[in-house]
Amino acid sequence: MNRVAFFRFVLCCVSPLLFAGCGKYDPPQFSLNMVAIAKQQLPFDQQQEVSNILDGMFGTPDKPFVLGQGKSIADSETGLDPKKLAVAAGPVRSDEFGRETGLYRRHCGHCHGTTGDGLGPTAMLLNPYPRDYRPGKFKFKATERAAKPTRADLELIVRHGVQGTAMPAFGLLPDAQVDALVEYVKYLSIRGQVELRLIDAMAELGQDEKLQLTRANLVDEILKPIVESWNTANESIIKPEDKPDVELATSIDKGRELFYGTKGNCAKCHGPSALGDGQTSDYDDWTKPVTELASDLRGEEERLRTDTDLSNEDRVALKMHVALASQALKADSLPPRTAQPRNLRQGIYRGGRRPVDLYRRIYAGINGMPMPAVGPASPGAKGTMEPDEIWSLVDYVLSLPYESISQPPHHQPATLSKANF
């Protein structure tokens, strides 16, 4: 056999391999919230059960499902429209009329992830990280702190993006597509929150006890309160009282006093010059489970190394949890970053730059963040600031980017000329 013939032979043998196995479509799967599972130390059979229940209640990324088939949308358990979900879900494609489906995977999934966990392939390159929908918490909305966003809030974010982050504006998408995407985000968020509740419910079970897979346990106890909170979001919109008729300079002065004083406490975190450098060691609510699990893991590893009295049984259990936790941290989380108070001198407002947006940020704080509320904690209660004081703070914050120290320094031609020639 000469050399050429040998190479031909090898090529003939090997080239089919190049194509083998790549043709089969392996549908994407939802991931489990492994950080929450590792924190609650759920054994494998309970993880499997959570996975089965979620598949039963919500279907797969290609075939989303919502309970209440044959009922009207309003009467269904989730209040979600399966038709809209079908447009947003599944692989990216369009039919002969140009109708597109798979919108979520086309526009959102690469950052927010198939599961809506904010763990898409591009997520770790971004700062801030993309939102994880699963805890059901959203930052930029018109509603009370603990309430869900309204449909209009989510549409606004999709259409206009989030300034100062990687979230782009999808203003060119037709209304129906934005609508379908918002529905799908709601679906992923409800699914994610149900998953967290399920994990907690599993952890609460006693030894040898099994979760009864009844409507009462899964739908009435877990799903309904979550759906209810979405359905009532419109009732908790913050409607600010009219801005008092005060001269702007006076209002700004009053706002400055509140900002630096012990009433507003703003400078404590936003810093003595409002550069966002006052308190930078805290984490947001999406990151805390990760940092807590990491700290648990460090303790357990330490114990495995140092505790010589551990029984064999305990040692095996500890090792198994160390493996579960380190795998969860590696595969199901991003390196934790601290929450950064906003630099208020840049004039970049993530939740919108309208005065009413800033009013709501101050009134309700930012859900999931260290930023506290100054308005009442519950309807009818008393807040720690009056509406006119909040308006003054809004005026002061909006004036900050225009103060002379906020402007970038002018370049100095004299120095430049010396350096260059």
């Binding site: 190479f7 090898v10 090997v14 391999l17 190049l18 196995g21 790549c22 392996d26 994407p28 799967q29 991931s31 489990l32 492994m34 599972i37 924190k39 609650q40 130390q41 494998f44 993880q47 996975s51 089965n52 229940i53 598949d55 039963g56 209640m57 309970l67 198939t114 702190r145 967290l196 509740r197 952890a203 030894q207 897979l213 009844t214 899964l218 739908v219 012990t262 406490n265 404590k268 308190q279 609510d285 805390k288 357990e300 114990r303 505790d307 009295d309 969860a328 595969a331 199901d332 704080g365 859900n367 260290p370 506290p372 509320a373 904690a377 519950s378 209660a381 008393k382 807040g383 720690t384």
Partner: protein, 307 residues
Amino acid sequence: MQKTLIVGGLMFAALATTALSGCSRPASAGPRPDPQAALDIRKRLEGNVVEAGSDLAAPAAAAAESSATGWATLKGTFKLVGNPPAPRQLNVDKDTEVCGKGAGIQDNSLLVASDKGIANIVLYAKAKRVHDSAKPLAEGNSAEPIVFDQKQCMFLTHVLACQVNQKIDVKNSDPIGHNTKIDPAKGVPFNQNLPSGNSVAYSPSDEEALPATISCSIHPWMRGYLMPRKDKYFAVTKPDGSFEITNLPAGEEIEVQVWHERGTGAGGALVLANKDLKWTNKGRFNIKLDADQTKDLALEVPETAFK
């Protein structure tokens, strides 16, 4: 010929690697769902299957339980065996003119008395029958509010157990500003700005399985815990390590959950190697009390139960 074989072999290896890479399954964490089990659950939830067993069995079990009468008390003391772990270092770098004035700010995550009693261990019992004095509080009840105060950048109550819907007055007695952030897993979260001398009302909306963290975002060393339960079957150990839960139903199996903020179990569950009580790795034990009995437990906690 040998050279050709080596080159050929290398080519084969290179091509095989190319062929196999890129075909890996999409990354998905955790076990994949079992389609048949998922379908069964779906049918059940859609109401296509008549639910048998659990619902029918429940009333019978309840009837059997309800025949029991009488009430009992569970009390006891937690004592540390060995030496308390070294206190943690706190980085008090803010508002130092107020924070920790006087006694200074000490790590209070694990308080052990001179007689080795352990404070701030939370216990709650899950019981089916509930005594009148332990009934859940209704929304908008007129119970006296509990004051949850902070002074010199410390929460004056480190661990607070209370009933759902109990009004709590979150207060700031410092000359500087604070904010108080409460993060329950199930209930409504809370994060309010607290100007000097002010107070804000809060009441937990749901019962929790383990205590919720209370923190101040301005002063990160400040930490407290809130344990809301529906009925009044809970206790927090006193500085001497003692606790008492009264009016527990006699004659039924009661599950008791035990927690400490530095417990090594999931979420801080306190795990003891107590064989008599069959203490689980979730920090729980079951107990059955007789009518009018006062069960006194002497509980020994090894230093390894804390992280």
